[in-house]
Amino acid sequence: MDASRRPNQLFRNLNAKLASIPMIVTALVVFVGGTTWTVVHSFTNSRLLPKLNFVGLDQYERLWSSSRWMISIENLAIYGACSMILSLLIGFTLAALLDRKIRFEGAFRTIFLYPFALSFVVTGLAWQWILNPDFGIQGVVRDWGWEGFVFDPLNNPDIVIFGILIAGIWQGSGFIMVIMLAGLRGIDEDIWKATRVEGIPAWKTYIQVIIPMMRPVFVTALVLIASGIIKLYDLVVAQTNGGPGLSSEVPAKYVIEYMFRAQNLAQGFAASTMMLVSVIIILVPWAYLEFGGKKRG
């Protein structure tokens, strides 16, 4: 009788459950627990040490009235919008060019992708040097005789974010190209043949047939670019350290400054919660589209 009884549910698959403990701990304690902890503490007035002394939305009011935060948000918006458009544009164009059955495709691909292997710190420092107003591009062009030439994004608060953008695009667009190229290679060869039989020029085929077919690839690329944009931190620290003044601050840097330098923990928590909210705003529609897409197909 006993032997025929079902074994205790808890001990079925015991090894698999034991082996999954690190994953479960990570998921529940670090990801869910940590995030909840931070969100909860963003409603307190913790300064040097976390305390559960709730002050409602005070931290958020402070945050949104802080000019440093507003600059950070504005910078991230400009960087984000430009970075999305340029990455998609450059990534797709390069992928389309490489997909035209060209010679040396491997060499070109290697060149476009190598910056992606480099860290943001290395990227930031390299471009800091190239954009150096005395010795970099500006200096070189002036040496050539164009005395009035001005190109000093890293020293001009109005355009410093574009200086960072140049470096960011350099580092990441090759990655988008790889994704786009994989998408283009996934397109049925017969589609191209069909458009040739019908006499549709290549550029028109790209716009009217191929790009609509690659919608999922574009969405994936956009999500990747977007999640990269929100993390933007190392590049700024290395290239400008937020300067000149506060003109190239970004939210991720704001959070870390307040948590680890300014000893104003709750302010950092509030800022990081805002980052989380913006990720949710981006991610939920995407997840909805993905989910909806699966239901239809």
Binding site: V30, T38, P115, A126, A238, A252
Partner: protein
């Protein structure tokens, strides 16, 4: 074959391959664009290399694009052994050693844990396993900033804050979502019959993992390694937060050397230091080639 091979008379007019001009407008546009764009991508590498081989007087006089008139390796030596961070002056070598000590256990531990996770998720599903996995994947999208401080507290509690092992743990945790996904998808693609046959033969959870799954999955382990080595080597954020100056990884130390406000700026040493830091991932990139692409593509295309 009978009457078919009899040569029909070829008529006048076009015959054979369509003549193509080598320098057609299409080709000039195509290769022209690619070459110009390639220059943008290659420019920083070129500038870094030439700058690191020049002496300071030449840098102050000349322009950043001109090749060095007199090649000197002194900046490289200085960057490696003498450059100052404001705290100490023993160059990048200390950061390099720290990075290696962080890298090796992080890569081993994160891959070991994630591959077992992926294996359990692919072959030994239990009630709730998919839920935890979903949370893990969603976690990959949460900005690190919301988890930074709770982890500081956890590391303090277990006494690893500021140590290399603390950072190893952090890398293991944050590498887990993508690696678990990678392994889960790979193990799912292995025919289930193989797994069933092994179970019929009496192999258990660990036996199947070690003797069937791991030997069959070496390519994906290499992909995971490439992903982790570049990712961990290039990390700055976790390094700066969870270690102290003696245990700073190379990226943090590089930033401290180059952006240190003290003394005169030695651009050639800076560029040598930057190149030194970028060397490890660059070598991996150029050696691994297609596998690198496969790794980042696997990381990109979710589900």
């Amino acid at each position: 074959m009978a009457d078919m091979t009899a040569n029909a008379p070829v008529l006048e007019g076009p015959s054979g391959p369509k003549p193509r001009r080598r320098f057609s407008r299409r080709n000039i546009f195509l290769y022209g664009t690619l070459i110009v764009v390639s220059m943008y991508y290659l420019l920083p590498l070129y500038v870094m290399v030439v700058t690191s081989l020049k002496g300071m007087p030449e840098i102050r006089l000349g322009n950043i694009f001109s090749p060095p008139m007199e090649i000197t390796y002194e900046p490289w030596v200085k960057a490696w052994a003498e450059a100052c961070t404001g705290i100490n002056c023993d160059g990048l070598s200390r950061g390099f050693m720290n990075s290696v000590q962080i890298l090796v256990p992080s890569v081993v531990l994160s891959i070991a844990i994630a591959s077992v996770n992926g294996y359990a998720l692919a072959n030994w599903r239990f009630k709730g396993s998919e839920v935890f996995f979903t949370i893990l994947i969603i976690g990959a999208f949460i900005p690190y900033q919301t988890m930074l401080y709770p982890i500081v507290i956890m590391l303090r509690e277990i006494g690893l804050m500021g140590s290399i092992w603390g950072l190893v743990l952090v890398h293991t945790v944050f590498g887990m979502p993508i690696l678990t996904l990678l392994f889960r998808n790979y193990f799912t693609s292995i025919p289930e019959e193989l797994f069933k046959a092994a179970r019929v033969d009496g192999a258990g959870f660990w036996g199947i993992y070690l003797r069937i799954m791991v030997p069959m999955s070496l390519p994906i382990f290499v992909v995971a390694m490439i992903l982790q080595v570049t990712g961990i080597w290039n990390d700055f954020l976790f390094g700066v937060i969870y270690t102290k100056p003696e245990t700073y990884p190379m990226t943090v130390q590089l930033n401290n050397i180059v952006n240190s406000v003290q003394g005169i700026k030695e651009y050639n040493v800076n560029m040598a230091a930057t190149l030194l830091t970028g060397l490890v991932p660059l070598i991996i990139y150029f050696v691994s080639g297609k596998l690198f692409v496969r790794g980042i593509a696997a990381g990109a295309v979710k589900g």
